[in-house]
C-alpha cells in the first residue's frame, strides 16, 4: 500500500530537510515557553525582584563594614554585586525543570512524544534556550540596577567574561534541573529540592563574604562550590582590567586562577550533560 504520508517522510530524509524540521519543532516548542512567560510574567518579575531585594538589603546591612575588610578595599555593595548576579542566574536556571515537570504530570509531554519529532532533543533544547535567555535577561537587569546604585559596570571585555561565565553556570544548573525533572516523581519533590538547594549553596559560596571570613570547614565548602567559580571571575571583571591568569581565589587546596574557574565550570557542564543523557534517553525513548 502506498501512502502519501509515508512518501513524504522517506523523501524528507535528506539532511537539509532534517535540519529544517529540527529547527521548526524547536522553534515551536521555544515559542510556547515564551508565550507562557509573556502571559504569566510573574516568574520573570519575581526572578528580578528577589535578587534586587538581596542586593539592596544585604548591601545596606553591611554598608558600614570597616574599610579594608574586603580584598582590595572594595565597598560591600560592589563585592555583593557579583554574588547577586550569579545568584540570579543560578536561581533562574534551577527552575528550568519545573515547566518540564508540569508537562510530564499533566500529560502534555505525551502529546509531544506522540508527534513524529525529528529528534526529541528538541524538547530539551527548547528548555535550555528558554531558561538561558530568561536567566541572562534577569542577570542583566540586576547588573543595570547595580550600576545605577553605584556598584560599577564591567568594561566590554569584562561584560563578555560575565556573559560567558553565566552561560556556563546556567548550562550546568539547567542540566541538573532537567535531570531532576525527569528523575523525581512530581513537582512537589522538585520544588523541595530547589528550595533546599538554593540558599545553602548561596551561603556556602563567596557571594556574601570572602573566603577569609569563613571558618575553615565552610571555606572548604565554598571553594568547592560551583557558584564560587562563577562569582570570582565576575567579581574580577568588575574590579578592573581583565587578567584570567591572575589568582582569584586562595582556596585551602591551592590558588585558583580565572582560567581555572572557567575550566571547572566547563567540565562541570560537560559532566552534568553526560550524566543526565542516559536518563533523558530513557525517559524520552
Amino acid at each position: 500500500m502506498t501512502s502519501p504520508a509515508l512518501g513524504t517522510s522517506s523523501s524528507n530524509s535528506d539532511k537539509s530537510s532534517a535540519i529544517a524540521e529540527l529547527l521548526q519543532e524547536t522553534f515551536a516548542l521555544t515559542r510556547r515557553l515564551f508565550l507562557q512567560l509573556q502571559r504569566r510574567p510573574s516568574t520573570l518579575v519575581a526572578g528580578v525582584l528577589q535578587p534586587l531585594i538581596w542586593l539592596v538589603l544585604f548591601g545596606a546591612l553591611f554598608s558600614r563594614a570597616p574599610e579594608g575588610l574586603l580584598p582590595g578595599g572594595m565597598s560591600y555593595g560592589r563585592f555583593l554585586g557579583a554574588g547577586v548576579i550569579v545568584f540570579t542566574a543560578f536561581s533562574a536556571a534551577l527552575n528550568a525543570g519545573l515547566p518540564v515537570m508540569f508537562d510530564r504530570e499533566f500529560g502534555f509531554l505525551n502529546r509531544l512524544l506522540v508527534a513524529p519529532l525529528r529528534s526529541r532533543s528538541s524538547i530539551v533544547l527548547a528548555s535550555v534556550i528558554y531558561i538561558t535567555t530568561l536567566s541572562l535577561v534577569q542577570s542583566l537587569a540586576i547588573m543595570v540596577t547595580a550600576s545605577l546604585l553605584g556598584y560599577g559596570w564591567p568594561g566590554a571585555a569584562g561584560l563578555l567574561l560575565v556573559m560567558v561565565t553565566l552561560l556556563l553556570l546556567v548550562f550546568a544548573v539547567t542540566a541538573l534541573s532537567l535531570g531532576l525533572a525527569f528523575a523525581l516523581p512530581g513537582h512537589i519533590e522538585l520544588i523541595a529540592v530547589i528550595f533546599v538547594a538554593n540558599l545553602p549553596l548561596l551561603f556556602a559560596s563567596t557571594a556574601l563574604a570572602p573566603l577569609s571570613f569563613m571558618p575553615p570547614w565552610l571555606g572548604w565548602l565554598a571553594s568547592l562550590n560551583p557558584l564560587t567559580f562563577a562569582i570570582e571571575p565576575i567579581r574580577a571583571a568588575y574590579a578592573g582590567p581583565l587578567d584570567l591568569s591572575s589568582v582569584l581565589l586562595e582556596a585551602p587546596y591551592g590558588s585558583v586562577t580565572g582560567t581555572n574557574c572557567l575550566l571547572v565550570l566547563t567540565l562541570l557542564t560537560a559532566a552534568l550533560f553526560l550524566l543526565i543523557r542516559p536518563l533523558l534517553n530513557r525517559k524520552l525513548a
Binding site: 501512502s3 509515508l6 524540521e21 502571559r39 504569566r40 504530570e105 509531554l109 505525551n110 502529546r111 525527569f182
Partner: protein, 337 residues
C-alpha cells in the same frame, strides 16, 4: 486489507497483567470500535499503538511499518487523541493547533489553511482564539480531535472520545468521525459505551482482561449470538400439551434455532430465529394446523447480550467490579514518563 495489526501484545505493570496476548486486525477504511469495561486494557493497548509504551511482547504494524522498529514513521501516519486531554491553558486553541502543526512539520501556509478548515468543520470559530483554560470539556475534546486530524493521518486513534461529554459535542464528534471514515480514514476508537460502538463502528472487538474475546461486525456478533428473540403465544393462556404441540410444529421450520416453553408466562414460547423472514414461514406452519397467532413480539439481541455471552457478565457488572480496584494515582504514574 488491514491497515493496523496488533499481534499477541503482552504488557504487565509489576505483577498486574494489563494485556495478555491481545491481537487485533483493523481493515483499511474501517471505523473500528474497541469495547470493554474500564480496566480491560483498552488504554494500554492504544498507548502501545501510539508508541508511548513498549509492550513486553508482541508486534504492532501500521500500514506495513513495524511501530517498534520505526516509531517515527508510524507517528507520522497516525493521529492519536488521548483520553486525558492535555492542553496548555495559557495558549489559545489556535496557538495549540499551530504548535501541533509544527511538531508534524507542516509547511506554514498549509498549516494555517488546515487550521482554518478544521476550525470551520468543528464549529470552533467562536472560541478558538480564546485561551484553552476557559474551555469546557466538550470544547477541549473537539480541539483535541482537531489536533489529531491536523496532519491528515491515515489512521486516527481515539481513546474514549466522548466520555463525559455533552450531547452537542458528542454529536459533532460522531459526525466528524463518520465523515472521516467515508473519506477513507481508518479509525480505531475505544469506548465503554455500548451505544457509541453500536452507532459508529463498522467492526468491533470486545476486550476483557487484556484479550479480545469476540470480534466482527456488530451485526454478525449479534447474529452469532442467536439471531432474533421472539416471544409467541397462540392463546392468551395456553397449556402444556398445546405448547408442546406448537413446539413440535415449529422445531422443523428452517431458521428456528431454539425453542423454550416459558411456563411462568402462561406457556408462551421463547424462540431464537435467524431473522425476520422466518416469521412468515412460522405463521404458515401454524395456519396449516389451524392455529392462530395471539401475540408475537420480536427483539434483536443487543451488544450487551453479546458482551454477556462472551464474558458471562454484563458490561455494567464488569464496570462495577473494577471501579473499586482502580488507583488513579497509580494510573497517573503509569502514564507519566
Amino acid at each position: 486489507m488491514s491497515l493496523l495489526e496488533l499481534d499477541q501484545l503482552e504488557k504487565s505493570y509489576g505483577t498486574v497483567s494489563a494485556l495478555s496476548g491481545l491481537s487485533l486486525s483493523v481493515p483499511s477504511g474501517c471505523l473500528y470500535g474497541l469495547l470493554g469495561p474500564n480496566g480491560a486494557g483498552k488504554t494500554t493497548a492504544l498507548r502501545i499503538l501510539a508508541t508511548l509504551l513498549a509492550p513486553d511482547q508482541g508486534r504492532v504494524v501500521v500500514a506495513g511499518v513495524d511501530a517498534l522498529q520505526e516509531p517515527r514513521t508510524v507517528r507520522q501516519l497516525m493521529g492519536y487523541v488521548a483520553q486525558e486531554v492535555a492542553i496548555d491553558k495559557i495558549l489559545t486553541g489556535r496557538e495549540l493547533l499551530a504548535l501541533q502543526g509544527d511538531l508534524y512539520h507542516l509547511p506554514r501556509q498549509d498549516r494555517n489553511n488546515r487550521i482554518d478548515q478544521l476550525v470551520d468543520r468543528m464549529s470552533m470559530g467562536d472560541w478558538i482564539d480564546r485561551r484553552c483554560g476557559t474551555y469546557s470539556g466538550g470544547m477541549r475534546r473537539r480541539l483535541d480531535l482537531a489536533c489529531g486530524l491536523l496532519h491528515q493521518p491515515q489512521l486516527l486513534v481515539l481513546d474514549e472520545p466522548t466520555v463525559g461529554l455533552d450531547i452537542e459535542s458528542r454529536a459533532v464528534i460522531w459526525e466528524v468521525l463518520r465523515d472521516l471514515r467515508d473519506q477513507g480514514t481508518t479509525i480505531l476508537l475505544s469506548s465503554h459505551y455500548l451505544e457509541e460502538v453500536e452507532a459508529l463502528a463498522d467492526r468491533m472487538a470486545i476486550i476483557d482482561a487484556g484479550r479480545v474475546i469476540a470480534e466482527g461486525t456488530p451485526e454478525v456478533l449479534k447474529q452469532q449470538l442467536g439471531g432474533d428473540r421472539v416471544t409467541l403465544r397462540v392463546r392468551e393462556f395456553s397449556d402444556q400439551p398445546e405448547a408442546e404441540r406448537v413446539c413440535q410444529l415449529l422445531e422443523v421450520v428452517d431458521g428456528v434455532r431454539r425453542i423454550v416453553i416459558n411456563r411462568a408466562q402462561g406457556y408462551s414460547l421463547n424462540l431464537v430465529v435467524d431473522g425476520e423472514h422466518v416469521l412468515a414461514t412460522m405463521k404458515q406452519q401454524l395456519a396449516s394446523e389451524a392455529l392462530e397467532v395471539f401475540s408475537l413480539s420480536q427483539s434483536r439481541p443487543s451488544l450487551d447480550d453479546v458482551y454477556l455471552q462472551a464474558t458471562g457478565r454484563t458490561l455494567m457488572d464488569a464496570e462495577l467490579a473494577v471501579a473499586g480496584q482502580r488507583d488513579p494515582k497509580q494510573e497517573r504514574r503509569q502514564s507519566m514518563r
